[in-house]
């Protein structure tokens, strides 16, 4: 993958930057420029504003992947999951710091920051979100999450009205 292709998604991959429709209040991740929930899609154009997910959510379904995709070989077996976030959107990511046998549908998780993959030994390293159990190792309060406030001025946000479905 080219560097630019990953880099332009940095606000989403690092900070869970999504979008919220100011017409119907639906939250999207990744951000969209047109709201599929608004009856008249056109009225939502230009009405979606940046909205950051908290990173809190629960496992909707999961798999323990043994036959890895290219670049993930050193991580097997890894837990792949769909997480429903507190704000609504669902997203796909790995669940780490957990015994795969202990992952269940409904497990509460929080976003964490990890290496996703490396472009070989000499290439760039891609970072982004994964998830970890929200209850920490011995049931203490959660130790991972996103800072309460993340800036609205993210450097690679698309121009207003640009297509980015």
């Amino acid at each position: 993958m080219t560097i630019a292709r990953f880099w332009r998604e940095t606000p989403q991959r690092y900070n869970l930057g999504g979008a919220k429709c100011t017409v119907c209040q639906t939250v999207y991740f990744p951000p969209r420029s047109v709201c599929p929930s608004c009856a008249q899609h056109r009225q939502s154009i230009g009405k979606l504003e940046p909205f950051h997910l908290s990173g809190e959510g629960e496992v909707v379904t999961f798999s323990v992947v043994h036959d890895a995709a290219e670049g993930f070989e050193m991580q097997v077996p890894y837990v792949l999951a769909i997480v429903r976030t507190r704000e609504g959107p669902q997203l796909t990511g790995q669940v780490v710091d957990v015994d795969p046998k202990e992952v269940k549908i409904g497990l509460k998780v929080r976003a964490t920051f990890r290496k996703l993959r490396e472009e070989g030994k000499a290439g760039v390293i891609h970072y982004g979100y994964k998830f970890a159990p929200a209850e920490d190792w011995d049931g203490r309060p959660p130790g991972r999450g996103m800072p309460a406030h993340v800036p609205s001025e993210l450097p690679t946000r698309p121009a207003e009205g640009s297509a980015r479905a």
Binding site: S63, V65, Q90, L91, T92, G128
Partner: protein, 389 residues
Amino acid sequence: MRDVAILGVGMTKFGELWDRSFREIGIEAGFQALVDAKLSSGDLGALYLGNMASGSLIAQEHIAPLILDYSGLGPHHIAAVRVEGGGASGALALHEGWLAVASGAHDFVVVGGAEKLTDVPDVEASRITGGTADHEWEAVFGATLPGLWAMIARRHMHDFGTTREAFAQVAVQMHENGSKNPNAHYRNKITLEAVTGATPVAEPLGMLDCAPFSDGAAAVVLGPMERARKFTDTPIRLAASQVACDAMALHHRREITTVDSTVVAAKRAFAQARRAPADVQLVEVNDAYTIAGLVALEDLGFVEKGKSGPAFLNGEFARGARLSMNTSGGLKSQGQPFGAVGVAQAVEIVRQLRGEAKERQVSGATLGLAHNLGGTGGTSVVHLLERTN
């Protein structure tokens, strides 16, 4: 719109065709279909070629004129169009062919589907086929196609109590069916224990829950129903051809265990043909993963949502039962050359409806359904094929 008939069919053997190139298999299937239809190449108006990823798999784009050229049809200068819809590319090409003939834009067209997967290493083929899901928001995070279908399986087990044995039995049944298909990639029979005990790929799916990467091609010739009798005694009517799409990423779907694109395409198809699921005797579904076969039976309306597991274990979808599922062996046994799958499904149903399926023939069938799907359901295509005499 006028009625469209399938006049001829052809396909290559599916499998690891080490000694055969992409263009060789593409041409073979096309010629078989043309010969079967007793049509001369001068009558053709267009070629539609379903293919998922020739650029990534064999570094060749612009393949439709290539196949046209090597088929000797170059001098006719007819239109040749590649159609892409992930694993649904073949059926999507069939839909384009149907549109062309039904609308009257062309009288006779060839619809082909071809894929050559074994010219790249397995891990690369996995990455490329994984691109039929959402690369940026699924694959980048470690999602693979089997991983995504495994998540569907897990949720199906959770919501409906579907057992591991139920979808394992799909693999057993597919190999049983495929053992009677000379074109099948795998013709060996397997046991339930072999499936449940196989090396895990993405839990709960194991090696034998996953269809293989195959090379292969298939083709059909379409023409207007009113002229079909000139070419064949048993024209098969394309009673419905419907495409429906949905969100690319599994996590953006309304429900994890329902493929809405399949539900909608099927509803539209039954409405178009003025028929109901109970009228169908034969179905070829997209069973790239065993669980996908079960989910398809539900979404197509053949069994209530969540009940496919017990129904399958009960033998309701065995060859010759109330609904014969994947008499070809399906993707699991006949093979999975992505862009060719949707066309090969039509070939199998035509052969069954004509009574040419030999060892695996189902008797008395008049209506068949072909269900082809891309990724985890971003695109679904449903065709109804009917014998009218």
